[in-house]
Amino acid sequence: MDVPLIIVHNSLRFLVLFALSLVLFIFARRIVYKRREAYRAVIKRWIEIDVLESMDPARPDKIPFLRGRYVRYPGLLAEVLLEYWGILEGARRGRLKDIFAATLKERFLAELSSRRQLKRLKAARAVVVFADSEDVPRIIRLLEDTPLIRLATLSALTLSPVPEVIDAVFATFEKDSLLNLQAYFDLMSSFGKSIESRVKDFLGRPLPEEKIAFLAEITGNIPLGSLYPDLIRLSGYPGVEVRIKIARALGNLSLPLPEIIQALVRLAGDGAWEVRAQALKSLGGMKSRDTIDVLAAGLFSSHWYCRLNAGYALTQLGREGLERLRGVSQQTKDRYAADMALMVLEGIIPAGES
């Protein structure tokens, strides 16, 4: 056989063998993983049972026992503790904290200093959820860590809000990129009215448009009623996104005050249709008969969403609103306004009754 032919022959053999061994490796790996998962599932169920028993105050002996038995499975033990934290409340959460402190805390605190981000990530979540007041400085340091660790810390704080870190959370929020905004939203919402003064302070700061819009959204979402003057002040903000959020937040506050209604009426005449649409929707929630003309005018808007929101807003004003809707549906000057009024009326009143 020629030398080139031998080379080709051997190359083919090598390729076939390589492909076969690759397939075998994939299968073997799959089997190993499957078995490992099954094994972990069994261990996890043991841990679940033992943790349940350890939550019984009459069994103080169980906690040292847990530490001894599952020293080789810190990840699984932490997973179970976090899962129980998610479904249980009250004194049992205190017991879970005790279990964590006695079994895993020391190890996880050491892992917080690890150079491996994944290790820090796992440890951060558990340390923050089961944190005591003495852990506040650690949480603050975690908030200054990489964006990924910061995100894990924020979401863990949502599960277990620590009031002492509110200032640190706002300071981080000011510096942080826009990527973690949803995590801040969940966390700040979980703090509730306790963040009122901070939100007020930050609404007055020169923040990027997205963050101002975010704070307006939070104000309406919690809701922080006493901040309505700040929202009204910002209703002339140059950025459209902010004005949309202001219009929505003013509606969510559910405070039919004359100042708020006036601000919403102003926003209903805004240059951007998104702002107008939101303001009309919020005006409906005010249920003020003084706004009936503004809402009826909204039905003649050139934008479909504005007409839709104006139509449904009128239905919230009772008989008077419905009559105005009927009037618009019967006029012939603006076919689109008439169609929208008719659609809204048919949607809320069963056929035959209108």
């Binding site: 094994y39 934290w85 004194a91 049992r92």
Partner: protein
């Protein structure tokens, strides 16, 4: 008692089944079956213990051994089910411990969603636990299904059915309520839960709202539509915590609404209150 029996006494805390009632030590029926099956478990158990408690750390080998032990226990359950004077019985998706069997050393658990498939999870005991198991009181035999004339006993050992697709919630509720003296039935599928409610007629149902297949409200409507079970009070246990969700649940006929995460103590106190109101007794009455 045989050598094997004495080993099992250490493992399970008490003599298992009716094997020791036999006069000749061999016998037929349940006793013979038990000894034979237990012998195989005992052999395995020594090996598993050796592996788990530090001699050999090969996880895969342990996994294999645990699987084998599980298989053996499954056989025991299947065999005992056929015999009179059951030691273990299968109830729908649960394997419940009846009489003096397996006590705290063996934990029976269900794997996966397949309701027809059961597995026994063998928990191995450390030497301290073994000593403890030998003196730990065993669970009392479960109560017979109650007839209408026995309703007054409801507060003493209420039968609670929990229907929730979140297995961890089922486990936690089962544990805490059992500790309080309740008899807990469970189902992770609403259709199965409905069937169980009709068959078992529990005193109260704990019901999740968001479940695959049928949501809690639909479950509730079907329950209320059936005269045989329409009287059973239902507590909704849901992660939906908005005012509108709670009002909707109560509007559909739930006796109470509890949001997740929940406090087991509050849950139990609500159960007692509802059952006491239904039976015309004070909720402060404690079972003897």
């Amino acid at each position: 008692m045989t050598k094997i029996g004495s080993f099992l006494r250490k493992i399970f805390g008490r003599p298992v089944g009716s094997g020791e009632n036999r006069a000749d030590g061999k016998g037929e029926g349940l006793g013979a079956v038990l000894e034979e099956t237990e012998y195989r478990i005992t052999q395995l158990d020594n090996e598993i213990k050796k592996n788990l408690w530090g001699v050999d750390q090969d996880k895969h080998k342990i996994g294999k051994l645990v699987d084998l032990a599980i298989e053996k226990l499954e056989k025991i359950i299947a065999l005992k089910k056929k015999e009179a004077g059951l030691v273990l019985s299968l109830e729908g998706e649960d394997v419940s411990l009846e009489q003096e069997a397996l006590s705290s050393s063996a934990e029976i658990d269900r794997l996966g969603e397949d309701l027809e498939r059961f597995r026994a999870l063998v928990r191995l005991l450390s030497p301290e636990e073994m000593a403890e198991a030998a003196v730990e009181p065993l669970p009392a035999p479960s109560a017979e299904r109650r007839g209408p004339s026995e309703r007054v006993k409801v507060l003493d050992k209420p039968r609670i059915l929990i229907v929730d697709d979140e297995l961890l919630v089922v486990k936690a509720v089962r544990y805490f309520l059992t500790k309080q003296g309740c008899e807990v039935l469970s189902s992770s599928k609403p259709a199965e839960g409905l069937k169980k409610a009709l068959e078992e007629r529990p005193d109260l149902i704990l019901l999740d709202v968001i479940m695959p297949g049928m949501n809690g409200y639909e479950f509730l409507s079907r329950l209320r539509a059936d005269a045989r079970v329409s009287h059973i009070p239902v507590i909704l246990l849901s992660a939906l915590s908005r005012e509108s969700d709670i009002l909707e649940g109560l509007g559909k006929g739930a006796a109470d609404y509890l949001t997740k995460p929940f406090s087991p103590e509050i849950l139990y106190s609500k159960i007692r209150k509802i059952l006491a109101a239904q039976n015309g007794r004070s909720p402060h009455h404690r079972p003897q």
